[in-house]
């Protein structure tokens, strides 16, 4: 018990310590205010994001910051849902048709090696600048992780004895799939969903940053070029917090799911 507390304390120490250092180097004038905002002020500005008024007016004439936030979030959810909608069935298909799975395997495995973002100009050329392109980029980035995890998950279940139990109980193939394969593969599929969601976040926000249309990613870039350092850091902070919270939550659920299989 003692060690766990020591670990936790150290973690907080590191976090607060680094934040404190950043705070000091700005306030002491070591680093200019135009390049770094004190951490405390980052939070203050972030808080202001969600109140109407001064911050909005200074930066965006026609849309509020909250609107940007919701737009980004909407794009993330949309690209993720579509990735699951297409990715999951495709994953199951690749598991069922082993030959097709083996043919596509080298391509799927090297997919994440290629900078998907390089395709962005082509996609913009087809879909134009806007929400559609951004969502598509998020979808592209997320889908292969879901496909691979799903196919692998069902493969793993097949290696176990559970489907045989279903067969000995004379269940139809469909029922074995729904009542045995599906629940048994859940931990693996969830890992894919977790990765997919993270990739959706990264894909959407990174595209917004490069594409500079609307949304949180755009906000960072825009405030950077407008020399609004405070707003820039506050937006970065928001993105970081959002990513960390989502990631931690998903990791916990994942651990719980795998824990149930414990031997």
């Amino acid at each position: 018990m003692k060690r766990a507390n020591k670990v936790r304390m150290t973690k907080w120490l590191v976090l607060l310590g680094s934040a404190g250092c950043l705070e000091i180097i700005v306030r002491a004038g070591i680093v200019r205010r135009s390049t770094l905002t004190p951490v405390s002020e980052m939070f203050v500005t972030l808080w202001k994001f969600f109140l109407p008024g001064e911050v909005q007016a200074r930066l965006l004439k026609d849309s509020s910051i909250a609107a940007n936030f919701f737009m980004t979030f909407g794009e993330i959810l949309l690209s993720f849902s579509l990735a699951v909608l297409v990715g999951f069935p495709v994953g199951v298909l690749l598991w069922k048709w082993k030959t097709l799975g083996r043919i596509l395997n080298p391509y799927l495995v090297s997919y994440y090696a290629i900078p998907v973002f390089a395709l962005y100009p082509i996609i913009v050329g087809i879909f134009g600048i806007g929400m559609l392109s951004i969502t598509f980029m998020g979808w592209l980035f997320a889908i292969v992780a879901i496909i691979i995890s799903t196919a692998t998950g069902f493969d793993e279940v097949e290696k176990r004895i559970y489907p045989q139990v279903g067969k000995s109980l004379r269940l139809s193939r469909w029922r074995i799939f729904v009542w045995i394969y599906f629940p048994a593969a859940t931990p693996y599929v969830f890992t894919g969903l977790k990765l997919g969601f993270i990739y959706s976040i990264i894909g959407v926000i990174a595209s917004e940053f490069i594409l500079s249309t609307r949304g949180l990613g755009h906000l960072v870039r825009f405030s950077y070029s407008a020399f609004e350092t405070e707003i820039m850091y506050a937006s970065m902070l928001l993105i970081v917090i959002m990513a960390v919270v989502v990631n931690s939550a998903l990791m916990r659920i994942e651990a719980w799911l795998y824990g149930r299989q414990a031997r």
Partner: protein
């Protein structure tokens, strides 16, 4: 209790009702790379199980016990011969057969209770009825108090009880078991063996039990079929004339020792033969 034991005495000496009959069963595999090479896994398997009997099949690892298990259970097809359940030919999993597998098969995503009632649920039995039957079964296999635990929270022995309960609740005519206690330590094995005797007595079960443990087979069964390898076939059938009810205390008796010796003599030959030829051994096949 007396009634069940009496039934067992009857079945022991007279042919009352044949539940399972295996006639001239054989299984041959073709090895992948060159279709030409064929491996004869099982040959001339003949076996009879009467109602209420507890029959064991014993043999060294890799001689086809699990293959036989899969064939009788209808999970695979035999190359020659036939398997008959109550006179009906088996080609596919038969409703009168219940199977308990060697690997841990309790579904980790369901509680013990949900696991046990799984087969009933799939059969469309009402929630109320299946709950009742499942609860009774939980008590029978000694898992009272653990209904809402997940297999991940239970010990290996308890997980196997869940698997056994799940099979028994379907009221099969005959229960096939493939080394169900294989992964457990010696003490747990003996205790669970005793439990199994108690359960079988209580419900008058008919069991075909596969094992590699001599003491287990002698303690539990009425008759033991000793297998030899390559190809797998029955070398000898040994009657266990130790009276019932039995328990772990049977293990130390003189008669127990005599029968164990006899079985060991048969097996020793096979095991040493197997150890020498192990390099190109045929793997113990899982039912596919």
């Amino acid at each position: 209790m007396g009634g069940a034991a009496g039934k067992r005495q009857l079945a022991f000496r007279e042919i009352s009702m044949i539940v399972l009959e295996v006639r001239n069963l054989g299984k041959t595999y073709s090895v992948h790379e060159a279709d030409a090479l064929r491996v004869e896994a099982l040959k001339d398997i003949n076996l009879t199980v009467n109602k209420g009997e507890f029959i064991s099949i014993i043999g060294p690892s890799g001689c086809g016990k699990s293959t036989l298990f899969g064939l009788i259970g209808g999970l695979n097809e035999c190359t020659s011969g036939q398997v008959l359940i109550e006179g009906e030919k088996v080609d596919g999993p038969h409703p009168s057969i219940g199977m308990v597998f060697q690997e841990e098969s309790a579904f980790p995503w369901l509680t013990s209770l949900e696991n046990v009632e799984f087969g009933l649920k799939m059969a469309g039995i009402s929630k109320q009825e299946r709950r009742t039957r499942a609860k009774e079964m939980i008590e029978l296999v000694g898992l009272s108090g653990f209904e809402n635990h997940y297999p991940g929270e239970l010990s290996g022995g308890m997980r196997q009880r869940v698997a056994i309960g799940r099979t028994l609740v379907m009221n099969p005519e005959i229960i096939l078991m493939d080394e169900p206690f294989g992964a457990l330590d010696e003490q747990t094995r003996v205790l669970l063996g005793e439990e199994l005797l108690r359960i079988c007595d209580r419900i008058g079960a008919t069991v075909l039990f596969i094992t590699h443990s001599i003491s287990e087979s002698v303690m539990l069964s009425d008759r033991v079929y000793v297998m030899s390898c390559r190809p797998g076939t029955f070398k000898k059938v040994i009657d266990i004339d130790i009276p019932r009810p039995r328990s772990s205390s049977t293990i130390g008796t003189k008669r127990f020792g005599e029968i164990t010796d006899e079985i060991w003599r048969e097996l020793k030959e096979e095991t040493s033969k197997r150890m020498r030829v192990d390099a190109c051994g045929m793997e113990e096949d899982r039912p596919r």
